[in-house]
């Protein structure tokens, strides 16, 4: 692969829903400590890939290894406890719980029961600690979801559609925030269609098309390739 140490490696993965197969033998290697962008149009299979990595969908064939260890059969809970964190694109907060509880739960399971780091990064949440997460605006919920990811102190952070429903400023801020997370050594996997911002911070780019890999390379290579053959 591109880099020597792959944090996560997905080999010949097939997965789907019901009778329908969505990933048709996908190979993926996520380099450790780098930012990897997973791009593609609606329906390419980005979210499915992330759910497979998080253990929400079982692989029908193929293997998933994490730092060399086969975790194909490991449960979602165990993966989460060992530092694999997924921020899904929807239902990413506990809607009936207060903002405080949403933060506290993740802080407690990660073993650092202090929620102040999240409040420092997202001051808006400090004013809303008692509010039911479900009654917050779409964008506020998104911030809360990311604040939770921050508290989890994951070794691999996977974010599905970071910018979904966020105002331009907040989206820009969050990409900046993610860059600092990555700089601290966390492996980041970003599924997005907002190619500009995702490309700007990525070290490696994968493009999915209909459940198969159609490109892998550096952002620079992608931009040149994209210029030559518009996807």
């Amino acid at each position: 692969m591109t880099t020597a140490t792959a944090e996560l490696r997905l080999a010949d993965a097939r997965a789907g829903y019901g009778t329908v197969e969505v990933l048709h033998g996908l190979d993926l290697a996520i380099p450790a400590g780098k930012v990897t962008a997973l791009l593609g149009t609606n329906g390419a299979g980005k979210s499915t890939t992330l759910r497979v990595l998080a253990g929400l969908i079982p692989l029908r064939s193929g293997t998933l290894t994490w730092r060399g260890e086969d975790i194909t059969r490991m449960s979602t809970v165990d993966r989460a406890r060992r530092g694999l964190m997924l921020v899904p694109d929807e239902r990413a907060v506990f809607a009936t719980l207060s903002v405080r509880d949403n933060l506290q739960i993740i802080a407690e399971t990660s073993g650092h029961p202090d929620i102040t780091p999240a409040l420092e990064s997202f001051p808006r949440l400090r004013e809303r600690l008692a509010q039911r997460a479900g009654s917050m605006s779409g964008g506020e919920r998104r911030m809360l979801a990311l604040a939770r990811a921050l508290l989890a102190r994951p070794s691999v952070l996977m974010v599905d559609e970071l910018s979904l429903g966020l105002s331009p400023k907040v989206a820009a801020d969050l990409f900046g925030w993610l860059a600092t997370v990555a700089a601290s050594g966390t492996t980041v996997l970003l599924a997005d269609q907002y190619t500009d911002q995702a490309l700007a911070m990525a070290d490696l780019v994968y493009v999915l098309h209909r459940g198969e890999r159609s490109f892998v390379g550096t952002p620079a290579e992608f931009t040149h390739g994209a210029a030559a053959t518009p996807a």
Partner: protein
Amino acid sequence: MSRGVLQAVGLVRRYGGLTAVDHVDLVAPPGMITGLIGPNGAGKSTLFSLLTGVEQPDEGKVMLGTTDISKMRPDIRSRRGLVQTFQVPSLFPTLTVADNLLVGAENRRRDYAGGLLGLSAPGRGRTSRLAEGVLEKLGLAPKGPVTQVVEEVLESLGLSDVRDTIAGTLPTGALRLVEFARALCARPDILLLDEPASGLDAEETAKLSELLRRTAAEGVGILIVDHDVDLVFSVVDQVYAMVGGRVVASGDPQEVRGDPTVRSVYLAQAPLAAAASQPGEA
């Protein structure tokens, strides 16, 4: 043309100590696209709920044309021409796309009286000239039964391929488009769209933008909320910017875009120092 102008007069909505919508005045005339922008939590969706009757305002009123519709139920407002799409798509997942649209077409105001029980013939009763004009120009004039209207909307939005698909099985992009189509079938005078481009990819967004222009050109008033700034500013005729429940700027799109508050609070174009010091949000 006073019929069909949607007007918010001093609307207020409080949740506990938080004033989500704070004395908002807004006018959305027919035939124009009105944009509503603002940071997350500014109160845009709440304002929509107040306009359509999903929520009741604490103060202020909502006018449609010359009528005060503040006390009406959402379905009645809809039959009067005020139709909404939601931030979270609200299709009927077990019905086909065509049937989703049919529900929109069949319950629209002109046919409504007695129509629920199948008493009224399609197309009976007084028809709003405005809506007729719109549909005619769109090539959607009601040539026959409601099914025809649906067929034509499907056709003009390029949805014919999925007419018999169960709505619940559609991808996000299509969901939004179908919800838009369903709203069109209800022949709105004013259409409220909450983040119609969220989750769409570039191609789908371009398609949407063209549809918006076409619809407005036919005389429908559109009020649109979206965080895709390029989309919003490329289609709107006027813009309102909300921050913290209040309208802080309104009017000509270019002026609003240049407004210092809007730039610093909403667009990521503030002086660098301000942006860096507040990662969360001002």
